[in-house]
């Protein structure tokens, strides 16, 4: 089990990571979400032993790692900006960890082909890094981090610049691989769906502090607060909603329906989503409400809507 205790990392005066404590159970996948600049990469770098903390420590199965140098931790880290070796070919990059481990040439080659194949870069072995497209580079970085199957694998937005289709194949498969090899994983992502579908545990960071922590289902069922709910991507998050709730509440867009007895509102915009068009309504108290109204009434239409309580969730 990976334990991070009271971690505080300061750059100059302001703290990038502020008293963070969490565990990652062996063989489990923890997803880390948080706004840009909230300290995700810093935490990973610290766990890898690449960052000195002002306070706090990291333990593996109870053993303090503070004195253990990076290369002896057997922690893999896929850097957000890849940090691929510019002087090595794709194969040279992907096989690096295996060679360091002392695998013999043939098995290295075999494994490299296997992993490259998986990320959809079969035949790229000989390519020079600068000739790769952005997404190809990201996949090489992913392959490089995964190849040696370290005991802990930290992935910093591993599929951020891949197209959704490729992502929706890779991410679930990645989950299977990690579980099969019992690799403990720490996974930074900006894609809620990714986190949901992959993670056993979710950590939401805010300004270097943990805003919420828990199983994905719980977190989505019970966002800790309005900020977290909004950050998680819920559209209709209100501190209160007249006539519906006077505590913080989330309303699913498909819980909104036309109802002459309902709240007065006006359509101020349309939003196009793959799932179909959505209407953005402004309520009397100026709150905005996104509603799945199909067909969406033209902008400007005044109407009344009611909210199906089943589709709402109260917070806190």
């Amino acid at each position: 089990m990976l334990m991070v205790r009271d971690l505080t990392v300061r750059f100059g005066s302001e703290a990038a990571v502020d008293d963070v404590t969490f565990d990652v159970p062996n063989g489990r996948i923890t997803a880390m979400l948080g706004p840009s600049g909230s300290g995700k990469s810093t935490i990973l770098r610290f766990i890898a032993g690449l960052e000195v903390a002002e306070r706090g420590e990291v333990l593996w199965d109870g053993e303090r790692l503070t004195q253990v140098p990076t290369h002896e931790r057997n922690f893999g880290l896929m850097f957000q900006d890849y940090a691929l070796f510019p002087h090595r070919t794709v194969a040279g990059n992907v096989g690096f960890g295996l060679r360091m481990r002392g695998d013999d040439a043939t098995s290295v080659e075999q494994r490299v082909t296997e992993v490259l194949d998986w990320v959809g870069l079969a035949g790229f072995e000989g390519r020079a890094i600068p000739t790769l497209s952005g997404g190809e580079q990201q996949r090489v970085a992913l392959a490089r981090a995964l190849a040696p199957a370290p005991r802990l694998l930290m992935l910093d937005e591993p599929v951020g610049s891949l197209d959704r289709q490729l992502r929706s194949r890779l991410v679930p498969e990645l989950g299977v691989i990690l579980r099969d090899h019992e690799i403990t994983a720490l996974y930074v992502t900006h894609d809620q769906d990714e986190a949901m579908s992959l993670a056993d545990q979710l950590i939401v960071l805010r300004n270097g502090q943990i805003a919420q922590k828990g199983a994905p289902g719980e977190v989505w069922d019970q966002p800790a607060d309005v900020w977290t709910a909004r950050f998680l991507g819920f559209d209709n998050v209100f501190d209160s909603l007249p006539g519906v709730s006077d505590t913080p509440i989330i309303v699913r867009s498909d819980a909104v329906s036309l109802d002459d007895g309902g709240l007065p509102a006006v359509v101020i915009a349309h939003r196009f989503r793959v799932s179909g068009p959505e209407a953005v309504l402004r309520l009397e108290n100026a709150d905005e409400l996104v509603a799945d109204l199909d067909p969406a009434p033209p902008v400007g239409t005044r109407l009344r809507v009611s909210i199906d309580r089943a589709g709402t969730r109260t917070l806190g």
Binding site: A48, L77, F79, A83, P86, M100, R101, P130
Partner: protein, 531 residues
Amino acid sequence: MNRPGLRWLAVVPAAFLAWFYAYPIVRIWWVGFVTGDDGLLDAIGTAGVSDAAAFTVAQAAASTALTLLVGIPIAGIFARFEFPLKRTIRAIITIPFVLPTVVVAAAFLALLGPRGTLGVDLEGTVAAILVAHVFYNVSVVVRTVAPLWESIDPRLEAAAATLGANRWRVFREVTLPLIQPAVAAAAALVFLFTFTSFGVVLILGSLEHATLEVAIWRRAVGAFDLQGAALLSILQLIGVATLLGLYGRSQRNRRVQQNLLAARHTTRRARSGPERIAVTAGLTAVVIFTLGPLLSLAIQSFGGLDNPTLSYYSTLDQRDFAFAVPPTEAVANSVTFAAVAAVIAAIVGGIAAAVVAYERTSFATVFDTVLMLPLGTSAVTVGFGFLVALDRPIDLRTSFIIVPLAHALVAIPFVVRTTAPVMAAVRSRLREAAAVLGASPRRAFREVDLPLISKALGVGTSFAFAVSLGEFGATTFIARPERPTLPVAIERFLGRPGGESFGRAMAMSVILMLVTAASVALIDRHRDGDF
């Protein structure tokens, strides 16, 4: 992206080399062959020549290997760590580079001579030559390699570590390949420098060991057998050109563009215990190695430890005898020459480096090789070449500029070798970014490349300055207006019997050291200001 329109810039360094290098040596060879009698047979006939050639290459190779061995770790310490007195130490290790051989010889004999304080007698052994060469050149390695090294993105090394590479593997697998161009450059410089080593071999080396340089000098000066000398120097040049050719080939397609960072983002204080120990040990070792001999000089300049005195310094500037050059005058002359030489070298060398770095053509490779040749050509050949070649269109032979020119000729390779590797490593992507933001290629160069390379260029320039302070190259063989420099002043004192002369010579040497350290530190400071 090949930078268009740079090739024509090559005319500047090309013209410089043609006028002040190629033409003179060809002229002197010509003179040699027309005036020569049986020199041909002599030169080749002398059994010594093949031995000399063999010994020259052997000692140069050994010296280079040793210097790299000592220099690279030190370069690493400078590139990756912050420590107190960094600039001072960097300046100190540059001092030996400029000291006259006689002085260094005196210092070494005081330590490693028959009655040396260290108790080992290296006088006249090949070991003495090698140690002296390392002593002279370790700063060449440090100052050539560090600028590129400290620009390398540490995240690459971090990535290797997360993949299980220990320190050594990280160095072997990631760092070394990335700094390789700079290492090769340093190797080339040290090799050429020791290949044409003269004084060290003559004074410290056992007298039966003669390098080609010494042989050429003996033919040209002692025997005035210009034909033999020409033949030998052609032989020498062929050797140098061949080696440089191989060097050039080895460097082709070895360039890796990378994300160059400012030193302050890549260097840090030593953290773990081992780190601290390594850094401290490394620095202590190099400082002792450098300062040891220097201190023994300093001590002698104070009349020894038993009854120290300042008299040598106080009497330095009383012009009681005409041959005694007052230090102020000597310093002024040295610094003036050095400044002019450094400016010439920086401009010509900078342009040359740009051509070499950005033109990915075989033309660039050849050009690169040619640029290095002056460093591998015997000083006497160039010096006498000046005499027979530089009298028209305008007579430069006796003008003030001849001295800085001669120095610049030797300094330019330093500027090129320190600058080009960094230039070549600048990501063309950055230039593209500048272009899409409306910067013309020239502007892009000024805004993007220049800041990234200015440190390396600064190192090159301070080398040029040092080369000139040390009076390297052809100057001793050309008639020059009587503007005695520090080295000349030192030699003059040494040319007189009596303890006081010797003391004064040592005092003058100490002044030379201080001037060197000060000017180098100054140029460094200026450079450290950059990004």
